[in-house]
Symmetry: C2
Subunit: 297 residues, 2 copies
Amino acid sequence: MKRISFEDGLIYSFRPELASVATVQSGETMEFVCQDSCGGLIRSEKDTLDRLDFNRVNGATGPVQVADSRPGDVLRIRIKQIQVAREGFLSILPKAGVLGDDVPEPKTKMVPLDGDVAVFSKGVRLPIRPHVGTIGVAPRDKEWTTFYPGDHGGNLDTKEISQGHAVYLPVFQPGAQLAMGDIHALMADGEVCVTGIEIAGRVRVQVDVLRGPSLHRPVVETPKEWMALASAPTLDEAARLATRDGVDLLSRGAKLPWEDAYMLASIACDLRISQAVDPWRTAKLVIPKTLMRHLPA
Amino acid sequence: MKRISFEDGLIYSFRPELASVATVQSGETMEFVCQDSCGGLIRSEKDTLDRLDFNRVNGATGPVQVADSRPGDVLRIRIKQIQVAREGFLSILPKAGVLGDDVPEPKTKMVPLDGDVAVFSKGVRLPIRPHVGTIGVAPRDKEWTTFYPGDHGGNLDTKEISQGHAVYLPVFQPGAQLAMGDIHALMADGEVCVTGIEIAGRVRVQVDVLRGPSLHRPVVETPKEWMALASAPTLDEAARLATRDGVDLLSRGAKLPWEDAYMLASIACDLRISQAVDPWRTAKLVIPKTLMRHLPA
């Protein structure tokens, strides 16, 4: 199995022109070895976010060229396994996060793992559920730092991009140029304090090039749901785009008139928040597979 | 058991000065008989929202005075049972809902129930989960039409205000002045098309006056969660207020420093959308009861 590490390739922006450090074939399984979002620089509670160079955070391992992928294709990335390090951290910073105005000073909390349990404090132990925070491809026409989420993926911070699930990304450039990083051992919808449990780890994925579906923006697949993801400067705008995409998918996928799909979404498809802090926000419309078995062509 | 109907009292705005049509004691169980949100005027697919007088929609049955409740108290309304009519409807309107700009013309869809299943179409049958869309008390100092959600409750459109759950509202005026209506047989988070399955029904509630907790805004309790609700003109602002309230509750309720509660919320408390259309939006921070057993004083 192919493996690439952040030591082989590490990017801080997704650009239309990215030089790959490896190539995979459609259908191949490979592993990405990832730093934590702060490049291993947070090692104790003395290390706070204000000391970091923000041009050097959220590095993504890659990019990897996917053979024979072309603009208009869709890349399906099935997350086969995420292995995380033994310790992660949470960190807050004035002016960052949903309540940034209320944060008096930077603070870091180290969070050791006890097997599959995060030890937040003596009394608060939480089962981990690792996900990939940043995953993306070379975008259509502008440069996005790995801090931002967008149509190309990037810093989506969507907790369902986790083991056993899949993310679908539109291909904008020849070879797609897949990169990922920013693993979280645990995060809730919203990522309100601006970090999850940030942690290093290894992500095993199976990558497929699909010619069937046509997507503008990322979609996540779980065993029971499709999620249409959209990112924008405000939650309201992200919510509108996710709803528009999701209703369009549902209309085509379930062969319903658009008006019926819109009404059905209102009673059966939750509109949710992936993250509200990155600094663009990501929303998701959740379509049960009972309503739509497959992504429409 | 006391019962009041929309024929006894029906309000189209929550105002500081409301004249009650009945009185209940703390601990008493009573029933509210409610019209659908459009006052029974939508009876077939020919009846569309553009024909309605928007000063006469979303009527709430009540108000009911709760004996011995005073400003600063909290009203707990436990939803014991919601019985709904045999048919409801969905309706869309240009410029309304998350995708209002995409709606070419008004359209209504009647949705009959087959027992506890909503028959959206021949192929799409969905189990119902009725909730109370509008529930509120006399507000502190201004008038809110029953169309709006706010600190007093109102058009919260929160799907968890359902049988077996409870909603907690701050009391702003002597006697609280409780009213409710706008029942939905089914709705998803977001209520993206601007309606759920709108339906008439009866709501049996048990009302308690609590002197312990102190709340600024509505809280919903389910068997496993507390939800701090907040409403504002934008999703971003509603999300910020819900997060601020929820983190404050968690800090006091779990006896954690504020910074720790903020970080814990980021990994364990989902920030979600109740509705994105009313025209103010309602967000909720979801606190698992494993982290906080009781509402703090």
